[in-house]
Symmetry: C2
DNA sequence: CTGAAAGCGCTTACAG
DNA sequence: CTGAAAGCGCTTACAG
């Protein structure tokens, strides 16, 4: 359990770690044999069960830990899979990170995730770092410039897959943003009609104009309006970034009706909307109803919330790992349907929010 | 920008990457010189500016990327810092992950975080994997058995620091759970008195009996009660894990008063409490008020919420990185005060929640 | 101002 | 059934 060298050296990490040479010496065999036993290829090499057992035991006694840097350097594959992602601080990205790790480990891959704060420079730097780490594959999640990452990796012979935001130089997995937004918009429109008796276009708030997801969601938003013969005035579409502050400012300076509905384009933006409500006491079953793209269990309980479009992270990651196996062509784009959730009051179940199944 | 070998090989990652040998050959110099130029030690070696420039240019042209596995293998320090953490799926751990990454990078360290799902087995396995990765240092965040990780790392000469949950074999940084819980309890007690006119002990729900944080928070909870001469009946203390389901079940099966207060021991547990409220329509300014340890911006808007104790992640990480520099003794335990937040209605500011400064 | 050489700890044909 | 040897791509004293 202890290599006897003592661990309390204040000066630094200068303990000499046990290597396969040390073990070979103790076991009276060769480093090759130790390596084979310890990495599981010993049956192929027809090493005796007895020797294998002895080596394994000694390795444990000595607290041997494989030096992965050396191992990876020698092998042609690293079995490291990298992921870059913008943030960890909401349920959506948090869930992606967790499931990516779990699925990777399940396949014997070592996941390394790095978070790039939505900064294009950091994205590229992080991708470069992962290339230096010899990742076998890189998942670019929500990257502002996925094609740049694809190119950078392609030059090093590393495959990439885009997640959440699509690119043209690697296969991509995204939510069905159009469908999710259209269904969510339908719900908000029908609720303000039922509760307020108003039949007016909604406000759309949050997102980036350059962003594929925002464009698609806006398209779904417009579609649902068009179904009712409604046209959305340009000044009701407020796309100035996802940041909460922007949303709050925008609402603050606008001239808003007594009773209206908002399509909120992310829980991040929703924080700003909620702050504004609180400040202006517009909340609490007053004249505002909103729906939000993305799911958050607490936001779901807010009384003005009439629906949330949850992105289906498990299926998205399933699709990603399928792509890892199938190696589809670069221009493939898989869209995963969203899960629409509406508050309990209109359903018979005991759940506070339930899933609804709208026509595709 | 391209090494000319083409990146579209469907078969795998079999492109031969550019190495310092390739560059040396093109530049008509030695690999040593290339290495020195590329890793910045060339001034020390008095390599001519001219050669340095040429090498740098060629490296760029060839799309050279350092092989970190080889580099780390050769050096004595890896500059990799590892962190294990239970989950990514709440604001607290998400914030820790982000700030750990940012601060690491700022120091030229490469952060690798891995999430262990609160499973003791996975914790140990993850720690082992990070040891194999030659991390220079490991932060064990919210580990169920931090001392086991400390030992495992110590045997490999790797320093560890405990975060969130303390251990005895490495220095630890934790929140002032006692103080935060006491202050939060005071607030809940005073609110149910002000709003309901009741002067009864609160319910404490969530956490693990074996968990240092739960014990400390319970101590603070009791202290605030004692200040008012109140004693908490044993059956009002429900400690059966953090999981939302457990809380929901427990509340469901209990005989509860008309008007009462709850101390909720984490936002994870709070989800269960909120589900129960919703099911039983106890919410909405009815007979329940709660306070919650940990902060969540949406949960903060729930009308029954009378306060949240936010753990001060920036200061916690500042303390961690101080420890990295100072190398304090293993038994040191730094407690970082929490930030108490109460709803706006009792404050004059425009913020929905504000910080309060209670006597320590 | 610069290069030859050793070696970090593994893996893997190759040769018994 | 097993071992000697080469080599992965770097870094770094050492010797000019």
């Amino acid at each position: 359990m202890d290599n006897g060298s003592g661990a309390g050296n204040g000066a630094g990490n200068s303990i000499k770690r046990t290597t396969i040479y040390d073990i070979a010496e103790i076991a009276g065999t060769s480093p090759s044999a130790v390596s084979a036993v310890l990495n599981g290829t010993w049956k192929k090499r027809r090493i005796s069960e007895k020797l294998a057992e002895r080596i394994t035991r000694i390795a444990e006694e000595q607290g041997y830990a494989l030096n992965l840097q050396a191992s990876v350097l020698r092998r042609e594959r690293s079995n490291i899979v990298g992921m870059i992602m913008p943030k960890y601080d909401n349920r959506y990205f948090g869930a992606i990170a967790e499931q990516f790790e779990a699925r990777s480990r399940q396949r014997g891959l070592f996941p390394v995730i790095t978070c790039t704060q939505r900064e294009p420079e950091l994205e590229v730097e992080a991708a470069r770092a992962l290339v230096s780490y010899q990742v076998d594959l890189l998942i670019a999640t929500g990257a502002t410039d996925p094609d740049r990452i694809s190119e950078l990796c392609a030059a090093a012979g590393i495959r990439t897959i885009n997640l959440d935001l699509p690119g043209s130089r690697s296969p991509s997995v995204v939510s069905d943003n159009f469908g999710g937004a259209r269904d969510l918009t339908r719900i908000i429109l029908s609720r303000i009609r039922a509760e307020f008796g108003v039949r007016e276009p909604l406000y759309f708030i949050g997102g980036r104009a350059s962003d594929h997801n925002t464009a698609e969601r806006l398209r779904g938003f417009r579609e649902a309006h068009a179904e009712l013969g409604l046209e959305v005035p340009a000044d009701q579409i407020i796309i100035r970034g996802y940041a909460a502050e922007k949303a709050e400012e925008a609402l603050e300076t606008m001239d808003l009706p007594e009773r209206f509905g908002i399509f909120v384009n992310s829980t991040i933006t929703l924080e700003g909307v909620v702050r504004w409500m609180q400040r202006n006491k517009r909340g609490g079953r007053s004249g505002l109803r909103f729906g939000c793209f993305d799911w958050d269990s607490f936001a779901a309980r807010l009384p003005e919330n009439v629906g949330m479009a949850e992105q289906d992270v498990p299926h998205m990651l399933e699709a990603v790992f399928e792509m890892i196996d199938m190696q589809p062509s670069a221009n493939i784009l898989r869209k995963i349907p969203c899960i629409l959730r509406v508050p309990d009051e209109w359903s018979r179940t005991g759940e506070a929010f339930r899933e609804v199944n709208l026509a595709g």
